[in-house]
């Protein structure tokens, strides 16, 4: 179940919109997961470092600025360089459909749009981590 799942919710880049990130962080917490929220303006290094230090199972990247196509590949590469590529990476925010395929190829497993119920994300995490 959720009790043993640790999640990092991260805001990469300069984007200041964190309503969604905070709502998801609280929702996952209430679903029983342990959640760490990075706060705004995190560099890709800071995010990867936090993921390694906190030894998280899931990273949720929230971005609404359009910089995902630059920042996400960097994050995925640095996770790999740090031996942390076993982590489940998901993303949410304003990410145009046309970009989804490219991001999924990088290894980002789920991309959630505005309006996604928190439960759907919880179930997705359970499924991917293979917990019942």
């Amino acid at each position: 179940m959720s009790e043993n799942i640790k999640v990092l919710i991260a805001k990469p880049g300069l984007d200041g919109h964190d309503r969604g990130a905070k709502v998801i962080a609280r929702g996952l917490k209430e679903a029983g997961m342990e959640v760490v929220y990075t706060g705004l303006r995190q560099t890709t290094e800071q995010i990867v470092r936090a993921a390694v230090q906190e030894d998280v199972d899931v990273i949720g990247l929230s971005i609404l600025s359009g910089a995902h196509s630059h920042l996400f590949p960097e994050i995925m590469k640095k996770l790999k360089d740090n031996g942390k590529d076993d982590v489940l990476v998901i993303a949410g925010g304003i990410i145009p459909d046309d970009d989804h395929a490219e991001l999924k190829d990088l290894g980002i497993k789920g991309i959630f749009k505005p309006g996604t119920p928190i439960n759907e994300i919880v179930e997705f995490i359970h499924q991917e981590l293979d917990v019942a």
Binding site: L14, G16, H17, R19, K22, V23, H70, I94, G115
Partner: protein, 552 residues
């Protein structure tokens, strides 16, 4: 009144309660978009505590509940001001001229995130962000391109810029100088509202004290040099987007306003020398009637505070003039065309609430940057309200509605309760430092999410009337080479400049920062010589330090 009371009780017992007992109602509880209870019926009984002349009055008269001007839209419609900006200054200039050709009446500039946070395009933190959510501006050269062939004495321009507002305002003045336009003729607005950046929007640079000082420097400079410029746009918009309800939007915005007035008074300014140029910015959300009441309540509340608390004597110091943008957070990624209807309802509320200018969102903005076609529909929505609906032909037509007047009055009261609480915490800057405001907003945001997920709050296409997703095809794309080109241009400007002059300008800015002199003057001198926003902000970062947000 006694007859009325009796009549009402009879109606309630004999008609209403009986019918409800037999047939029930659609919901157990009716609530506004902000979770305030809604009764089945409002009547003159709900207006007993309201005095028409004291609390409502005629338009253009204190407390301006019915509007700040005596004629409102019968003389002149609101300014149709679509927020736009993406990519390079050249592309944005083309979009501006397109919008002006299609009947837009004012400009509104969106800057990219590096510009908003005071980084040049070639800064490490700018990577991937250049030209994404707005136009990239590094030096005066970009600003010259942005306003190419747009006469600055003929348009009014709003700039969504906060932490480095002085720098962008200085660049705008410098462009005007080059066009041969006198400063007195410049009209427009800078957002310049740092407090809501800490609470809700996130593009802060410096800590609160030096930030407030930069703001009062602008107040002072403009009161002497730029008489028609709106020196600040005190913004509830982003507070609402971050998840607040209508009362919180109202209360926190007014509380921010109070803090700015206090700051200006603390440097010895006379309230009537700057208060007439304060402007506001609100959100247009979905609960139509509550929103109309909110706008009316905002005017009354501000007028009362300016007069009672700050002793303002000029009528203009008490007039709350505001811009409205329809709610980005109400746009759905699902069945996106439905957003056209949502925007129309929100825009109508803003107009019936007496807004001075309006931005209508494009229906595709939950998916990405708006296309030209979507932006045009958004603008046409305003044209249809203005020219076809008839609502602009008489002033404040919803006044006198028992529901609207009662709600306007209640919103004023409820906002005042919040203001008292903030006062007890030591004012808005302190309340923000303590995380009080952020926590209040986060709680509302989370409760709203839960209400949507439980179905208690219906969002068409999201939790009711759902369809398998059908995507709309077009989203505006930003050219991936743009960042490289922008950095190259900046490098060329740097190498063409006189570097001694640049150093001298930066030293002057540093000295003014240290010696508490008005920063507008050395910043204006610097931008004229193409010193960049990043260079100027770096000096200020060194002197002022950077704000570190706590997580609440």
């Amino acid at each position: 009144m006694a007859d009325l009371e009796k009549g009402f009780q009879e109606w309630k017992e004999n008609k209403l309660d009986k019918t409800v007992n037999n047939y029930g109602e659609r919901k157990d509880e009716f609530k506004t978009g902000s979770n305030r209870p809604v009764k089945a019926l409002y009547s003159p009984l709900d207006l007993e505590d309201i005095d028409y002349l004291d609390d409502i009055n005629f338009p253009g008269q204190f407390p301006y509940t019915r509007g700040v001007y005596p004629t409102m839209y019968r003389s002149r419609l609101w300014t149709m001001r679509q927020y736009a900006g993406f990519g390079t200054a050249k592309e944005t200039n083309e979009r501006f001229r397109y919008l002006l050709d299609h009947g837009q009446t004012g400009l509104s500039v969106a800057f990219d995130l590096p510009t908003q946070i005071g980084y040049d395009s070639d800064h490490e933190m700018s990577k991937g962000e250049v030209g994404r959510v707005g136009v990239a501006i590094d030096t005066l050269a970009d600003m010259e391109t942005l306003f190419d062939q747009i006469p600055l004495d003929k348009v009014s321009t709003s700039m969504t810029i906060n932490a480095p507002a002085s720098v962008l305002l200085a660049m705008y003045i410098a462009v005007a100088e080059k066009q041969g336009v006198e400063k007195e003729k410049l009209s427009g607005t800078i957002q310049n509202d740092i407090l809501k950046e800490y609470i809700a929007r996130g593009t802060y640079i410096f800590p609160p004290e030096p930030s407030l000082r930069l703001i009062t420097d602008i107040f002072e400079y403009c009161s002497q040099e730029l008489p028609s410029w709106n020196t600040i746009s005190i913004s509830g918009y982003h507070i609402r987007e971050a998840g607040s309800d209508a009362v919180q939007e109202l209360a926190f915005t007014i509380a921010d306003g109070i803090e700015y007035v206090e700051s200006a008074l603390s440097i010895g300014m006379d309230v009537d020398s700057f208060a007439p140029r304060l402007s506001f910015f609100f959100n247009g959300q979905m609960d139509f009637l509550e929103e109309v009441a909110k706008f009316r309540a905002a005017r009354r509340l501000w007028a009362e505070i300016m007069k009672e608390r700050f002793g303002a004597e000029k009528a203009k110091s008490c007039m709350l003039r505001f811009h409205t943008q329809t709610a980005g957070a109400a746009l759905t990624a699902q069945q996106p065309q439905n957003n056209i209807v949502r925007v129309a309802i929100q825009a109508l509320a803003a107009v019936l609430g007496g807004t001075q200018s309006l931005h209508t969102n494009s229906f595709d903005e939950a998916l990405g940057l708006p296309t030209e076609e979507a932006a045009k529909i958004a603008l046409r929505t305003q044209h249809i309200i203005a020219e076809e609906s008839g609502v602009a032909d008489t002033i404040d037509p919803l006044a006198g509605s028992y529901y609207i007047e009662s709600m306007t009055d209640k919103l004023v009261d409820e906002a005042r309760e919040y203001l008292d609480e903030i006062e007890e915490l030591g004012g808005m800057a302190e309340a923000i430092k303590a995380g009080y405001v952020q926590r209040e907003i986060q709680e509302s945001a989370y409760q709203e999410q839960k209400a949507v997920e439980s179905g208690e709050k219906v969002v068409v296409g999201v939790n009711k009337y759902k369809e398998d997703s059908k995507e709309i095809g077009d989203i505006l794309k930003v050219d991936p080479n743009l960042e490289k080109d922008q950095c190259q241009q900046l490098a060329e400007i740097r190498s063409d400049r006189d570097s001694d002059k640049t150093e001298k300008h930066l030293k002057d800015i540093r000295n003014a920062a240290i010696n508490d002199e008005n920063l507008m003057y050395p910043i204006l001198d610097a931008v004229r010589d193409y010193v960049s926003i990043g260079e100027i902000c770096q000096v200020l970062r060194e002197e002022f330090g950077e704000y570190e947000a706590k997580i609440f």
